[in-house]
Amino acid sequence: MPRPILVVDDSDSVRRLISSTLRLAGYDTVEAPDGQAALGLARSAVPRAVITDQNMPNLDGIGFIRAFRKMPGSAGVPVIFLSTENAAALKQTAREAGAIGWMTKPFDDKKLLSVVKKVLG
């Protein structure tokens, strides 16, 4: 059983959309509504990959990635960073925190799948 992809977004609709797109493509997913909850999930079972939003309550995307990268077992797990802002500074921060790539919202399911496919090989 392959490990699931962790989808983190405080927006139910965006999160469910990403998750259902991935599931339809045959990936298993788990969902978390914020960084804090995502860390909890990642601790109990290291995901195969992570797709995380930036703006979230409790713990934002960057904060999550930083904490996630400090977790044992997170090595080698690709993290895709989502944001509506296409800001260079934020991108830089995300990269430094340990994101593998960046997706700017809004995106459609084809883009999402092509990116996930590229990340997971």
Partner: protein, 714 residues
């Protein structure tokens, strides 16, 4: 999970985000320099844009983007907020709400106001911003900076015939693998640019027993033939360039496309072909490596985070809740039946069964309250919607108005909230239009030039109270009376008390404004409000004092499914009358009863004459005049003011489950619904307002000061 249900979720989220937006804008009004607040507004708009994009709602995306960009300028302190900008933000928020609604209902939004606001918003954006804006418009849904390190496939295929050779040295650090990067994927991206050859330098690979899976020991040499620019290559490595040692060298010699790609020559030297994944297995193996045991221990001992922040909620289909409420209604009826049967057994008072029955009653009541609470929602969104109404009304009338809300966390049944929106809108508009004075006038009177509308909600004695108060001039009673006489609603000779004059506002077709303004509308009067509230089982009342303002009070039952009622008998039939409508119960003293004409009868209540309505006769249950032995229930009705309803006797006061007659049988005049009593019999629930209207000829009474409405049950 179907897409349409996710779409529904998106629109539900939009509601919440729009609420947060309105709230944020209100807070900005107080303190625009609070960056937390500005951020909250920004995020709300932002999240709507993000979600809208996923559903290809381009128009919404575009508007939200412009709105957000201006908000971002405020956030980055490039733009100061003044009154004018604040107003534009409010209007933009309203427009965004309209666009969301239009998108939800799949109809065309008002393009005119959208364009106007977009233009005003764009005026705040500098030249650079507007260029970006155009770029954005050109491809609003473009995956603008798609994971650059990965998304090379998006680039146009090489168009030039001139190929150049790039020699790349790529030496990853362990952090590159730790971040989940996969060199193979980078190479795949490069291979899409042109023929690529890859050489792995395995010279640093240690002996097997000294192999560290987390170390990066393989360096790579790559040769790419492409017509792409060097920057494109750098883009491929964008996310890894801080995590590796990277050199990209371009050879100046143009390479003419050859029949045989140079790859083959490399392959013939025993080097791995670009697609030979086996040669690139090292990072893969590394990725799958389980953490060392020590790490596992750390995982186990790491404290689990307690969930914090917003309380988790559950979205449930309303139908399910309603089904549950129905079942709980049946439970209450069933419990009443069991109680009745047990009472009939006439068990000794100490019987265990009696105790347990009491416990069962309490539990049933708890369940019922719990279920009702599911349907209960705070009035906050409703009140927030009024802020827009106030703003628009203020704009049209040229008045300065601020809205104050109190108790917006008060919870009310969802249906009540939905059906209260129109009456409340009307009353709030009225308050701005008719209630408040013009700023000049207010200044003259020494009042604050900004008028205040106060919306408050509270729970009091099992009812919900909603008040709409203005600090305007108060009702012009002389004008109201004049108008009512003019319209033939009251006789010119009538002398009415202040309260009676005020209540004239609720008569059908009454309009107070000397000139009907286009704001409060034509022909829609307070009677519509009163009927809407009455349909919810509530009532409206007015208090007003000259110069100080007017307050409308709406009193509603907490729930529409269950109500407290008196079980009464009328001509041998058992019926229920809502307690909420009863002001007082009177066991009449024959001395206080007086006959008027041949048929009319009144009772003197503390000096005032109140007409008596015989319920049995009005319902057609008895043609004879009832004897005076019954009980009178004093009610305040919409058509006739204070009225005494004559009923046979009051048997009990209890909670009854309301069952709609109209949906199960048909409407009956004077009856609002039905219920099932403990003995299994069906009892009709009376509607006092309608009952009184059934009186063949209402008795016109000389006015008298009405008794104070206080609850005194005989």
């Amino acid at each position: 999970m179907s897409n349409s249900s996710i779409r529904d979720t998106f629109f539900e989220e939009c509601e919440e985000l729009l609420e947060a937006l309105v709230e944020g804008l209100a807070a900005m009004e107080e303190n625009a320099s609070d960056m937390e607040v500005v951020n909250a507004v920004f995020r709300a708009v932002h999240s709507i844009k993000g979600g809208a994009g996923a559903f290809a709602l381009d128009r919404l995306v575009n508007f939200a983007h412009t709105f957000e960009t201006v908000m971002d300028k405020v956030r980055s302190k490039q733009l100061a907020v003044n009154e004018e900008l604040m107003l534009l933000f409010h209007r933009s928020g309203d427009q965004l709400a309209d666009l969301v609604e239009a998108a939800r209902d799949e109809r065309e939004p008002n393009a005119e106001s959208e364009a106007a606001i977009l233009k005003e918003l764009s005026a705040y954006l500098g030249d650079v911003e507007s260029e970006e804006e155009i770029a954005f418009d050109a491809a609003p849904l473009a995956f603008d900076a798609a994971p650059l390190a990965l998304d090379i496939g998006e680039h146009d295929p090489p168009t030039g015939t001139e190929l150049r050779r790039f020699d790349i040295r790529f030496c990853p650090t362990p952090a590159l693998y730790a971040n989940g990067h996969e060199p193979l994927l980078l190479f795949d991206a490069l291979a899409e640019l042109g023929p690529l050859s890859v050489t792995a330098d395995l010279s640093r690979l240690p002996e097997f027993d000294r192999f560290d899976p987390e170390d990066a020991v393989i360096n790579w040499r790559l040769t790419l033939l492409t017509s792409e620019d060097e920057t494109v290559l750098h883009e491929v490595f964008e996310f890894v360039d801080a995590l590796c040692d990277l050199e990209i060298a371009v050879s100046d010699e143009p390479v003419v496309a050859v029949d045989e790609p140079p790859l083959d020559s490399r392959a013939s030297q025993g080097l791995p072909a670009p697609t030979d994944r086996a040669a690139l297995a090292e990072p893969k193996a590394q990725e799958d490596t389980t953490p060392p045991p020590s790490a596992k221990t750390a995982t186990a001992s790491a404290p689990r985070d307690e969930p914090r922040g917003p309380r988790p909620t559950l979205r449930v289909d309303l139908d399910r809740v309603d089904r549950l409420i129905n079942t709980v209604g049946e439970l209450i009826i069933n419990q009443a039946m069991i109680s009745q049967r047990i009472e009939e057994l006439e068990l000794p008072a100490v019987a265990h069964l009696t105790n347990e029955l009491e416990a069962y009653k309490l539990l049933a009541r708890d369940i019922q309250e719990g279920v009702m609470a599911i349907r209960a929602q705070p009035v906050k969104p409703l009140f927030q919607r009024m802020s827009r109404i106030v703003r628009e009304a203020a704009e049209v009338t040229g008045k300065k108005v601020k809205l104050v809300t109190v108790g917006d966390s008060t919870e009310v049944d969802k249906t009540v909230i939905e059906r209260l929106a129109d009456p409340l809108t009307h009353m709030v508009r009225n308050a701005v239009d008719h209630g408040l004075e013009r700023p000049e006038k207010r200044a003259e009177l020494g009042k604050d030039t900004t008028g205040a509308i106060r919306l408050s909600a509270s729970h009091r004695s099992g009812s919900v109270f909603i008040e709409i108060a203005d600090d305007g001039a108060g009702l012009n009673r002389a004008r109201i009376l004049e108008k009512a006489i003019e319209k033939g609603l009251v006789s010119p000779e009538a002398e009415l008390s202040e309260q009676e004059v005020d209540n004239l506002l609720f008569l059908p077709g009454f309009s107070t404004a000397a000139e009907v303004s286009n704001l409060s509308g034509r022909g829609v009067g307070m009677d519509v409000v009163k009927n809407a509230v009455a349909a919810l089982g509530g009532r409206v009342s007015i208090t007003s004092s000259p110069g100080a303002g007017t307050t409308f009070t709406i009193v509603l039952p907490l729930t529409l499914a269950v109500m407290d009622g008196f079980v009464i008998s009328i001509a041998d039939q058992t019926m229920v009358i809502p307690i909420a409508s009863i002001i007082e119960t009177i066991r009449p003293n024959p001395r206080d009863l007086h006959c008027i004409g041949t048929d009319g009868e009144v009772i003197s209540v503390r000096g005032a004459y109140v007409p008596i309505v015989d319920v049995a006769r009005n319902l057609g249950l008895s043609s004879e005049r009832a004897d005076s032995s019954g009980v009178l229930l004093l009610v305040s009705t919409e058509g006739q003011g204070l009225t005494a309803l004559r009923v046979g006797a009051i048997h009990d006061q209890r909670q009854v489950v309301i069952k709609s007659l109209e949906s199960n049988y048909g409407a009956i005049a004077g009856v609002s619904a039905a219920t099932i009593l403990g003995d299994g019999k069906i009892a009709l629930i009376l509607d006092p307002d309608e009952l009184v209207k059934l009186t063949p000829a209402a008795i016109f009474l000389p006015p008298a000061s009405p008794p104070r409405p206080e609850l005194r049950h005989a």
